[in-house]
């Protein structure tokens, strides 16, 4: 586990071990809230405190029986799904153009396309609120989808342009010379090879939308409340174990998405390794 170089002196060994202890404590700190909150969601008590008197699924029953939380879950999935699709399409198509050697002012345009990731989200939220209000798109699903898609596009652009750099564009020429039209070429030759980039970009975009609360705070009416937005309201009012149950469900979803990304990355690395 700890690789202690035999050449190390005694004092160095001590400092290496001390570093390890420090690192493990920090990782414990990182995991602590997650480790704490999940068991609390299974309490039979209505207080969020340890020791847990008895185990029960009571709060999950409350959660899955609540119209409010179920609508929030549905809203989150619905908005994140369409925002992701939109971000994936716009981001992938743009990435193909951006990586073309003929594209002028590549750096500047790329920088501009990535700004939604850099600008503090509160500024984006307030600006969107004023702008969408003029279009009558606040308190609407379309507004939320557009705003979240915008936040997701930089991730798609980053991951897809990165995979496109490893793509041999001679294959496109080969396909053309064999008589394939541009659009079928794109779907048959390009997409299968940059798929890992598109999928991981899409997963990032999904998580961005699924976790997003500040834009939702300004733009969503009660009808469009997403899970984080509903949680925000819940935390402000009073924290009861339902919040812990929602949190546990969201932790599970993040875990699935994280494993998804790890799987896609591992697969694309295998593909790359297979090629060389």
């Amino acid at each position: 586990m700890i690789r202690l170089d035999p050449s190390l002196s005694k004092s160095e060994r001590i400092s290496v071990i001390a570093t390890w202890i420090a690192a493990l404590l920090v990782i414990l700190f990182l995991m602590a809230p997650i480790i704490t909150i999940v068991p609390l969601s299974f309490t039979s008590d209505s207080l969020l405190s340890y020791p847990i008197p008895d185990w029960s699924l009571r709060w999950y029953e409350v959660l899955f029986g609540s119209d409010m939380w179920m609508r929030a879950l549905w809203n989150s999935l619905y908005i994140a799904f369409f925002a992701t699709i939109l971000a994936m399409i716009l981001g992938t198509v743009a990435s193909v153009g951006l990586t073309s050697p003929n594209f002028p002012f590549k750096g500047a345009v790329m920088g501009l396309l990535l700004t939604p990731m850099i600008v503090p989200i509160i500024i984006t939220a307030v600006a969107s609120y004023f702008f969408y209000a003029k279009l009558g798109l606040t308190n609407s699903y379309l507004g939320m989808i557009l705003a979240h898609a915008l936040l997701g596009t930089p991730f798609v652009v980053i991951t897809v342009t990165a995979t496109l750099l490893g793509f041999d564009s001679n294959q496109v020429r080969a396909a053309y010379s064999l008589g394939c039209k541009p659009i079928p070429t794109f779907f048959k030759i390009v997409v299968p090879q940059i798929q890992p980039g598109i999928i991981s970009g899409g997963l990032f975009a999904f998580v961005t939308s699924f976790d997003e609360v500040i834009v939702a705070l300004f733009m969503a009416g009660t009808e469009q409340f997403t899970l984080p937005r509903q949680m925000f309201a819940g935390i402000r009012e009073n924290i009861d174990p339902t919040i812990a149950a929602v949190a546990s469900v969201m932790i599970l979803i993040s875990l699935i998405l994280l494993l998804g990304i790890q799987w896609v990355t591992a697969r694309s690395e295998k593909l790359k390794a297979g090629k060389t």
């Binding site: 690789r3 170089d5 050449s7 004092s11 400092s15 570093t19 390890w20 420090a22 920090v26 990782i27 700190f29 990182l30 995991m31 809230p33 997650i34 909150i37 609390l40 207080l47 405190s49 340890y50 716009l90 198509v93 743009a94 153009g97 073309s100 003929n102 594209f103 345009v109 501009l112 396309l113 700004t115 939604p116 850099i118 600008v119 500024i123 307030v126 600006a127 969107s128 004023f130 557009l146 705003a147 898609a149 915008l150 596009t153 496109v172 699924f210 976790d211 609360v213 984080p228 949680m231 925000f232 935390i235 924290i239 812990a244 949190a247 969201m250 932790i251 993040s254 875990l255 990355t265």
Partner: protein
């Protein structure tokens, strides 16, 4: 791409090469290249337009609000023009001014359109809203413009002749204004037109800016101290161990922000596990206040931002060869000197990239301080939201957003410089 134009000369090979014209070929190549460029542009165009219309334009109009407030000029165009022309009110044509103000206020009172003007002026001098309301109620009953408009206004309320009020109207008499930007920096225009500091009890925003910087710097520093050993361990262990530890860093990173914030409130609250543990160990008698204060903000923000420091630092450390440290030591350097002079400088690019990233993200944080902080721990983002939603003062919200954006972009430029444009997260 542009397959047809490229293959055209080739399929013509049945014909003798008599008509071969290098100029024509060059032109064809140029057309093909131009077509490729156009195609690349067309592919980027949808996203570019999307970002332009739904992001850059809204941000631009938000920023414009911080320097442009056309309420007074729009509703009282002629009165504003007269005020604007006057040299600091000394050359104000009073009869003309009060006369037009009477007419324009009468129209505005009937159309009930003076509200925004009252609110705008009230942001400068408190009392304008009631002044406008009361006078408007009376002015609707007046049949015609009185001969001495100024006397009429003064008989309604003597504040209509008060230089403080007149100067506020004068300041609002042009749509372009530095009023909000100055307010956001605790400055104001004196009646003489020079920039001065606001009274101490009104000064608020410089403190908020300093507080934002202070919390962000604190969080960055804590992240550096906590993150360095983690990154070092990740970079110097076996693959299996690294993967296990990386999950410990990435799993919280992927967990929803709100989940983590809620979890910290639960962990740190008075009945929470930390307090009950300390109490059962008899370290403390009374539960400690660990949340809804600055401590809670530091804990939750550090927790959320730490992975942003660890990951880039780890990816840089991974690439540092062990040989340098060994060489330094074999040449007689003491281990800690070798570390400070050989290892640390090589890890510095990752450390500074991570630290700047943490700082940038931290200054813009809103949700976490809003939920785990007390009223004295709120950062600039909170006030942007506050002036947008609670106290409707969009100009001030925009001015604060302007400042936050500028600070963020400055540090982002620094980040770009440090990373050389390559933002490596190592995963």
């Amino acid at each position: 791409m542009a397959a047809s134009s490229q293959t055209a000369p080739l399929t013509d090979s049945s014909q003798p090469h008599v008509g071969f014209d290098p100029k024509k070929l060059k032109a064809q190549v140029r057309t093909a290249e131009r077509r490729k460029t156009l195609r690349a542009l067309a592919l980027v165009a949808p996203l570019f337009l999307f970002v332009l219309v739904f992001f850059l334009f809204p941000i631009g109009s938000l920023l414009e609000r911080s320097v442009n407030s056309p309420e007074f000029v729009t509703i009282f165009p002629q009165s504003a023009a007269i005020l604007h022309k006057s040299d600091n009110l000394k050359t104000l044509d009073e009869q003309a001014f009060y006369g037009t103000l009477f007419e324009e206020l009468q129209i505005a009172a009937k159309e009930r359109s003076f509200g925004p003007v009252g609110r705008r002026l009230n942001q400068d001098v408190t009392g304008f809203i009631s002044l406008f309301k009361k006078t408007a109620r009376k002015i609707k009953k007046e049949k015609q413009r009185p001969a001495d408009a100024k006397a009429w206004f003064l008989s309604q309320n003597e504040n209509w002749g008060n230089p403080t009020y007149l100067h506020a109207m004068k300041r609002a008499s042009s749509a372009w204004t530095d009023f909000y930007m100055l307010t956001a920096l605790d400055l104001q225009r004196s009646d003489g037109g020079s920039i001065i500091a606001v009274e101490d009890e009104k000064a608020l925003f410089v403190d908020i800016l300093i507080r934002t910087m202070e919390i962000s710097l604190g969080v960055t520093l804590i992240c550096v101290i906590l993150g360095y050993p983690v990154a070092w361990v990740l970079a110097h262990t076996t693959d299996t161990m690294r993967n296990i530890l990386l999950i410990g860093v990435l799993f919280p990173f992927w967990t929803s922000l709100l989940v983590r914030t809620a979890a910290w409130i639960i962990v740190l609250q008075k009945e929470g596990p930390i307090n009950s543990m300390l109490q059962s160990l008899h370290i403390i008698d009374e539960p400690l206040q660990l949340v809804f204060n600055r401590f809670g903000v530091y804990v939750a923000l550090t927790h959320i931002l730490l992975p942003f420091l660890v990951l880039p630092l780890y990816s840089v450390m991974k690439a540092i060869p062990n040989d340098y440290m060994r060489a330094a030591k074999s040449l007689g350097a003491k281990p800690w000197i070798a570390f400070i002079r050989v290892y640390l400088p090589q890890s510095l690019p990752g450390l500074s990239a991570g630290a700047i990233l943490v700082f940038i993200l931290s200054i813009g944080y809103y949700i976490t301080p809003a939920l785990v902080g007390g009223p004295k721990d709120q950062m600039i983002s909170y006030f942007i939201a506050f002036y947008t939603n609670n106290t409707i003062n969009w100009g001030l919200a925009s001015a604060l957003a302007f400042i936050l954006l500028v600070v963020t972009l400055v540090f982002y430029a620094l980040y770009q410089r440090v990373t050389g444009g390559k933002a490596g997260m190592g995963v």
